[in-house]
Amino acid sequence: MSSVFGRMLRHEWRMLTADRTVWLVSIIFGLLILYAVGNGVSWVRSQEVVLDSVEADGSRRLAQLTRALDSIPADAPPPAAFGRDPRSPGSVGNFDGAQFATLRPQALAPLAVGQTDLLPQYLRVTMRSKLTLAAAQELENPSNLLEGRFDLAFVVVYLFPLFILALGFNLLAAEREGGTLGMVAAQPVSLAAHLGAKVVVRGGFMLGLAMVATLVGLLLNGALPGMPPGKLALWFLVLAAYGAFWFAVAVVVNAVPRSSAANATILAGVWLLLVVVVPAVAGTLVNTLHPMPSRVELIGAMRTASNDASARGAQLLAKVYGDHLDLAPSGAMTSADFMSRTYAVQEEVDRQLAPLADRFDAQLDRQHVLAARYQLASPALVASFAFADLAGTGPTRYRHWREKVASYHEAWQQFFIPRAFRHEWLDASAYPAIPRFSYGDESRSEVLRRVGIALVVLLLPTVLLAGYSVRRLKRYQVAV
């Protein structure tokens, strides 16, 4: 039997390659992949240029400040309250020394742009409130953002199923309509085996094509050498599982005798449902059932708190010094106390807004948990999330990075604000202690776990559909 199956595979391969439309379809598919990979590579390169210059800018500023500090004579007067001075904590921590926290793209980033075009990949960290971090954004035409990028993940998630369905919508229906099904069904070979041979050949062909085109795309763009083979293999595994799911859908539709036009209609409907409608409904449900607290309200509340705190500025500063005698500057009050008062007000605003900001973060967390759950509604979402995870452009890594930036921001404030309160000028010994940002990436095993779950989630319906098809095919009525 196995040798018969081998011969069937060879036969199917010949039938496939004899079909001119198959060549047309595969050339288009291959070109789309090549284009998408090239696109992704160029996007990541442009991103890297920005991040490089941002990081270089931070280092250059600190170097400049250090040089400027060295040139100040020991007996120079203390820095002015509002002036730019390498010795003033406010001047360095808010303006001249402000550093960027960056999120560097990972090796597979060219394959899935994810949200990197929408969410800022670097944040300027200053002594100002952490609420200011939320306003950061990259410039882009909103119409372009609405459309999204033409990357490999798009080609795979949206178009790969279409190509699979184009090859698979009439697996049995074509033979029925062409008449050969009767000849085949009169032979002692089960329809499941016959259909199986078709799927194995077509599936292998499409998967091989997708893999080869991806690798060629990376090679042509000079991005192949840096690719970690393990992650790339996982990417292809998710690709295979996602493809297998769509083949299983095609098989299930073919397991009932229908015209190929009817099959095409049904499969187009299934595709539309799983790739377009369900994700849109899932996103809308998350937003409708668990809406984000409004940023607009948050801004209003911030203003109210800030007015209130400003009115009590002197009082607040006194309170800071009262609570922390160690922070009180020695000597008489100077105009620098105006700045101190600003920090005291800001601390108070942050303190007052903390519950609101926490509520915001909690809701954001809840939304992401929900989104992670709702993605199970569609294999397209599961695959898309897994691809973004592997590329390091997914929501989980981004949020992990934002957490690290938040703690870096806290460390930054902790370094500068108490010094500002104490009127303690920065000297050569303080500069090397200025906190620098380095992002220790998410743990690998965490990513692997999520991708593993995605694989299981993709394969489970595939197996169920295949099992159902085998049973259904036993009752397939060749003649009606």
Partner: protein
């Protein structure tokens, strides 16, 4: 070899085949005659398990078709009204593929060409793509497939309709050869003349019933036509 015992089939309450009991012995050619929709094709489809019986059984060499279809199909060969083959493949390649599917995977190319030559397709024709074949040539490949499969029973559904008299005659001759080798043949046909010429027994079907069975050598051409028309009128 071919046995139908109280075999029935109905579609959504419409009876297509009333209980049919019929036996075709090895070497016998049994022709089913009747108008369109008389139940001839249904009978053949039931032996092939292309449709599930509503009642009764169809047996091939004692094995029930609906229970172990893969085993019974090993014993059967089938030639439909239109032998449809893979257009992109040659006659030879089609024969080879169907032989493999039929469980005969050890034929050499010479042997396969031999089968085709036997049914009247020379090597040049055998290597051409089926897309260019006439209907007669395709029917011949169909017989070659049946011969190569070493089937014990042959099911034919209007195999000669649309063939010119010469091709039709050649077809009958081939059928005779198979029957001489002990193959049981069940053939549905409209062609009274051809049935009388090549069949051993003739059954007339009407509205899903086998209404009459006669031995071919016990009836003349004119009487057969008379009998047929009489049944059609009632």
């Amino acid at each position: 070899m071919l046995e139908a015992i109280n075999l029935t089939k109905s579609y959504n309450g419409t009876v297509a085949l009333h209980p049919l009991t019929l036996t075709v012995r090895p070497g016998e050619i049994f022709c089913l005659l009747g108008a369109n929709g008389a139940g001839k094709t249904t009978t053949i489809n039931l032996f092939l398990n292309f449709v599930e019986p509503s009642g009764g059984v169809a047996r091939i060499d004692g094995i029930v078709a609906s229970e172990r279809p893969l085993e019974t199909k090993r014993l059967l060969a089938y030639i439909p009204e239109q032998v449809t083959l893979y257009r992109h493949l040659s006659g030879l390649e089609n024969l080879e593929y169907f032989s493999v599917l039929g469980g005969q995977s050890r034929y050499s190319e010479a042997e396969l060409l031999g089968f085709l030559d036997h049914v009247g397709l020379d090597a040049a024709a055998a290597r051409r793509r089926v897309g260019s074949y006439s209907k007669g040539m395709r029917q011949k490949v169909g017989i070659a497939i049946a011969i190569a499969k070493k089937a014990k029973a042959l099911l034919l559904d209007e195999p000669t309709s649309g063939l010119d008299p010469k091709a039709s005659n050649e077809f009958s001759t081939l059928l005779g050869l198979l029957s001489d080798q002990g193959v049981a043949v069940l053939m549905a046909t409209h062609d009274l003349f051809r049935a009388k010429e090549s069949g051993h027994r003739l059954g007339i079907m009407k509205q899903g019933r086998l209404v009459s069975t006669v031995a071919a050598n016990e009836i003349g051409h004119a009487d057969l036509e008379q009998l047929y028309l009489q049944h059609m009128r009632d």
